[in-house]
Symmetry: C2
Subunit: 274 residues, 2 copies
DNA sequence: CTAGTATATCTTGCATACCAGATAATCAAG
DNA sequence: CTTGATTATCTGGTATGCAAGATATACTAG
């Protein structure tokens, strides 16, 4: 799961606008575009701009820790790498800057950002608050069909775990949580979670790959799905909470192993408590 | 509250990097920038780029409903208005597009976005989930000093309400909720709330200005502050929830009065339930 | 050898120019 | 009058060029 949290708000015109009949001006003058009139012109629009592609690639490389914190980002170099000009690269870099994935020092340089320590507990709190709420709603609303889709996703995850493909597994993990958001009736909130989730994703990739963590996640997902199927909102929320709490494991140890990857904007000790 | 939800991730270099002493190359060649080495170079940096200014202005005008949904955004026109080129304007527009405040139809035009109906309940759910959690934590952590700051903000709100200044009042409202996030120990999560909050802000500006709504909000804020002061987490969360639930009022009525301002991506009826 | 200064050369921010695609006005045909 | 094709013209996406500021190296003075 690497893609952009939100694809933006682009779409294709679908309906012709109404002509304004009376215009005596002999000069051919294009009238102001009247804008989208039709309903539901939301178009996920396979159309992808160059900037989008560059953004996604860089986002992927940064979150997967291919590009390590501190690495310089040369706009010019990226441009040639993608055989494009600086403009779309700059667009992508600016998006990454707003997501705190890169830091840009004006007139100096751009670098892959270190992870602010504060982002880790914040991500935890936010995810718990939102996802526990969503999963509880999902438990009350789930239809058999939806539950089957959930089971299917879990099964994909089991296969990915068996084949040891971390990347593939991560995708199913995202899909699982996104599907719960969808079942709960608020699919749009998943992209909110995606935003806060990013720092923890980067973090996860620097912890030693623990062998059976994937299988453990699969069984936790099953527990959540079971609770949803039973319609047990409280239990579902509790499962989700303990599932998310697993993110805390190895935190301190990992930070000690890669101290140069973090920004110490909060006290290290505050990570221990709670 | 109109400012950008997040200022980005820009900062000034503060520490000189270490020189690499051995470089026999007689040609003057500037070595790659070594990037930020010092800790905590986060610099809110009064420095504001042209694009930032344009973004903030447009953001303000859109959320305050000065620019109504459907209004065309002419990059060229905006550029001349701000006496700048298209480049920074484009930057600003792209940011607005990602926040769903404008829709850009490639090669056709850019328009102030209509409000997706789905965004309203989503904002409610997200805010309840996050802010109820935060206020409960705040209730457990609040120090007398923090509570005084909260009271001060409430008082500012009361004055703004008395003078009937909606804009001023909105600022204090944002400040109140932001302060609670700060007290809870997760100030960064307020910007998350700001994101989902935007559509409801636009919505609020098209409902007839109800006379005493501001005073009512003040007393609700007081109730929340009281609960926090007593350290009653449960009561605080409940107060916050009912406070946020007030956003639902007049929903359907307002939508009927301005049907052209919305995108009907979900069923109207689904707004009634719950 | 050390410390401070000067300068070459990099960087990002902004301005301008160009292009393909989309729209609206006009025209032609039924 | 309606419908479809034509074309001028506008739009956003991209490429390129210039300027101000920041850094690393070379240089100078002690």
């Amino acid at each position: 799961m690497a893609g952009s949290p939100e694809t933006g708000f682009q779409g294709k015109r679908s309906l012709k606008a109404i002509m304004s009949p009376s215009d005596e001006n002999p000069r051919r003058k294009r009238a102001a575009n009247t804008g989208p009139k039709g309903l539901g012109h939301f178009d996920p629009s396979g159309r992808q701009t160059l900037a989008d592609q560059i953004y996604e690639q860089l986002h992927h490389e940064i979150t997967q820790l291919v590009l390590k914190p501190g690495t310089p980002i040369l706009e010019r170099e990226i441009a040639t790498r993608f055989d494009a000009s600086r403009t779309p690269v700059r667009e992508a870099v600016l998006r990454l800057a707003r997501e705190m994935l890169v830091e840009v020092l004006p007139k100096s340089g751009t670098f892959v950002a270190r992870i602010p320590l504060s982002a880790l507990p914040e991500a935890l709190v936010a995810r718990r608050a939102i996802e526990c709420d969503l999963v509880a709603r999902a438990a009350k609303l789930a239809s058999p069909a939806k539950i089957l889709r959930l089971r299917a996703i879990i099964e994909e995850g089991r296969e990915a775990a068996a084949s040891g493909s971390q990347a593939e597994f991560d995708k199913t993990d995202s899909a699982f949580h996104a599907e719960i958001a969808a079942i709960s009736g608020y699919p749009g909130l998943w992209k909110l979670v995606l935003q806060v989730k990013t720092p923890t994703d980067r973090f996860r990739h620097m912890v030693l790959p623990v062998a059976d963590r994937m299988q453990q996640v699969v069984s936790e997902h099953e527990g959540i799905a079971d609770a949803i199927e039973r319609g047990d909102a409280v239990e579902a929320a509790e499962c989700m909470e303990s599932h998310l709490n697993q993110l805390k494991t190895d935190t301190l140890h990992t930070i000690e192993r890669h101290p140069e990857y973090f920004v110490y904007d909060i006290d290290l000790d505050s990570l221990k408590c709670e």
